[in-house]
């Protein structure tokens, strides 16, 4: 599903050039739950931004679902992000003036889905993350954990082929973190491909595959047995 080959990302600071990514080659298959783990400054976020088509790279090749996305225009990339990729950010990035339902409907607005269909699908996505009873709350009226669940609902509402999560639990306490990770595991069990960036080994332990990253290069790629959370009812 995701095939990157010899990806390079070079930053120029004054006269110095820094290789944030140094010929990275990685393949992620459908249904995987992969974590990219490394210390800060290792280039893992850069890799995530490139995988999420938020950033461009200097050299290499990127095939997403068999399509070469290397040469696509900005607007074409926006279309691919909209249809194929769901994002979960560390700081949630919800729209402050919109309610929960409107936030989740936003990707469908950009996908030009008709209004009643938007509402139906957004409600389904929110029910999936256990927020079916919070549809009309404003985002500043709910807790951090709930905000991240809204963000997850938003990331899956357009049925993307891959979900990209960048330190999704970085701003959450340990109890809420477990809730979020359980939702990810449930989604993965249902077939959603997930790529998660983290610097915490405890988070990576919930995933099926850990790609270790350091100095812009992959140092280790291991398949692991994920730490199972009790299948207790959500909330």
């Amino acid at each position: 599903m995701i095939e990157i080959t010899d990806i390079e990302k070079i930053y120029r600071l004054g006269g110095e050039t820094i290789k944030a990514l140094d010929k990275v080659t990685l393949s992620i298959k459908e249904g995987e739950f992969t974590s990219i783990m490394g210390p800060s400054g290792s280039g893992k976020s850069t890799l995530m931004n490139i995988l999420g088509l938020l950033d461009r790279f200097d050299n290499g090749k990127y095939m997403l679902n068999g399509t070469d996305v290397t040469e696509l225009s900005d607007d074409q990339l926006a279309g691919v992000r909209n249809k194929e990729i769901g994002f979960v950010f560390q700081s949630f990035n919800l729209m402050a003036r919109m309610n929960v339902l409107e936030n989740v409907m936003l990707p469908l607005v950009y996908a030009k889905v008709p209004a009643d269909e938007r509402k139906k699908r957004a409600t389904e996505a929110l029910e999936k993350v256990g927020l079916g009873d919070r549809l009309y709350h404003l985002t500043n009226e709910i807790s951090g954990g709930q905000k991240q669940r809204v963000a997850i609902a938003r990331s899956i509402v357009n049925r993307p082929s891959v979900l990209m999560a960048d330190e999704p639990t970085g701003n959450l306490d340990s109890k809420t973190t477990e809730d979020i990770m359980r939702i990810f595991q449930d989604l993965n069990d249902e077939g959603t491909t997930i790529v998660m960036v983290t610097h915490e080994p405890e988070m990576a332990a919930y995933t099926k595959r850990i790609v270790h990253f350091r100095d812009g290069q992959i140092t280790e790629d291991e398949t692991v047995t994920p730490k199972q959370l009790s299948k207790a009812e959500v909330d």
Binding site: L54, F87, F89, R154
Partner: protein
């Protein structure tokens, strides 16, 4: 991206910062309000003035003859005949001279205003009604034969004879120490009867009209005609006919380019008034234009602030699939709606303002669909013009730079 969503987003964002949005709109509000008020009051004033001039005679040409070298220059009787025969649009033509004198019968005497002209005078007189009660007006035969006939008004008839039906009676008039004995051929409705409340009945002069030829024959110093009133059928033709009259008289009297004949109509006076008025309107419009410019810069400023504040929002939207165009339209729409709301408030305020000014000046303000359209178009244009730069700035952000923005 659907218009409805964009519209709602723009409104949300505008209302999220009510005070800021209002202050931003203030320049546009002031600009639009003054444009609307000035246009409405200006148009009202223009109509008032045009109306006044039209009442005075939108179809009237005042023809004068004046020669600096020859003080005796005057219009001949023959000139009038030629003019009326050659220019078919001329409906009536007559001198409208007036002189005061004393009218007397065996019974009584009183002050009189004597108008004299051609038989057309009955349609041109500004002092006498053309509504005959008894008899007839003096006619072309009276004029051609210098008959000593006169038409008087009912008020005068009452004063001199004690009744109105005085056709066939005689009276005498003393003007410039000459006594004219005249036979009454007609009585017209008294035009000034209703002034009797304001004036003592004895003080209202007797109004009478008689052929200019008769006056000229009996009082030679009154023979010259240097002011003639011409009435045309249609106000549209008034300017070309005025020019035609002057040209014809100059050719006929061998006076081309000597500037003797002058045909003035209300348009010239109106032109002068309109020139002053439009100068005034343009001046205020320029001031309002500056207010709008400042308002537009305010919109641009606040949109730039908004784009900076919402950089992460823009990044998120782009991550979720918003294209360059979508973001551009979103922010442009916000700028346009901001200035349109300002325009609407300005429009309302301008209407209120113009009503206050107009009632103080005692005129009726005129709102045209055009001026409302102008306001809407102008505020949209201000929004687009000053919103495009911030909107482009937002749209061109790369998703990663926008998301990383702190």
């Amino acid at each position: 991206m659907f218009i409805k969503e964009n519209f709602k987003m723009a409104l949300d964002s505008i209302f999220a910062n009510k005070m800021r949005s209002f202050l931003t709109m203030l320049g546009i509000i002031i600009g639009i309000a003054s444009v609307i008020a000035i246009l409405a009051v200006g148009n009202g004033a223009a109509k008032e003035i045009t109306g006044t001039f039209s009442d005075l005679g939108a179809t009237t040409i005042n023809l004068t003859a004046n020669d600096s070298d020859d003080s005796n220059a005057a219009l001949e009787q023959e000139d009038l005949v030629v003019l009326k025969d050659s220019i078919e649009e001329i409906q009536y033509i007559s001198p409208n001279q007036q002189i005061s004198g004393t009218a007397s019968t065996e019974m009584d005497s009183r002050q009189a205003v004597v108008s004299y002209g051609t038989p057309d005078l009955q349609y041109l007189s500004q002092t006498m009604s053309s509504n005959l009660i008894h008899g007839r007006y003096f006619n072309q035969i009276d004029f051609d034969e210098n008959n000593s006939v006169v038409v008087i008004d009912t008020d005068g008839a009452e004063a001199l004879f004690g009744r109105t039906d005085v056709v066939g009676e005689t009276l005498s008039v003393n003007i410039t120490q000459t006594r004219l004995d005249l036979r009454i051929v007609g009585v017209v409705e008294g035009s000034f009867a209703d002034m009797q409340g304001a004036f003592d009945a004895d003080q209202i002069p007797l109004f009478m009209a008689m052929p200019q030829s008769t006056v000229g024959q009996q009082v030679p110093q009154l023979a010259g005609m240097n002011s003639v009133i011409i009435e045309v059928e249609d106000t549209e033709q008034i300017e070309p006919i005025s020019n035609q009259i002057v040209r014809l008289l100059e050719l006929r009297n061998d006076a081309v380019g000597e500037n003797i004949y002058n045909a003035r109509n209300f348009l010239q006076a109106l032109d002068q008034v309109n020139n002053v008025l439009s100068l005034f309107i343009n001046f205020i419009a320029a001031v309002a234009g500056i207010a709008l410019l400042v308002g537009g810069i305010g919109v641009m400023n606040i949109m730039l602030v908004s784009v900076t504040e919402r950089t992460r929002e823009i990044g998120t939207r782009k991550a979720l699939g918003a294209t360059t165009k979508t973001i551009l339209i979103q922010f442009l729409m916000e700028a346009v709606i901001l200035s349109l709301i300002g325009g609407m408030i300005g429009l309302t305020l301008g209407i209120l303002l113009s009503n206050v000014i107009a009632s103080a000046l005692n005129i009726v303000p005129i709102y045209t669909l055009g001026s409302v359209g102008l306001v809407l178009a102008f505020s949209t244009a201000v929004g687009v013009f000053f919103g495009i730069y911030p909107a482009r700035k937002a749209a061109k952000l790369t998703p990663i730079d926008a998301l990383r923005f702190e």
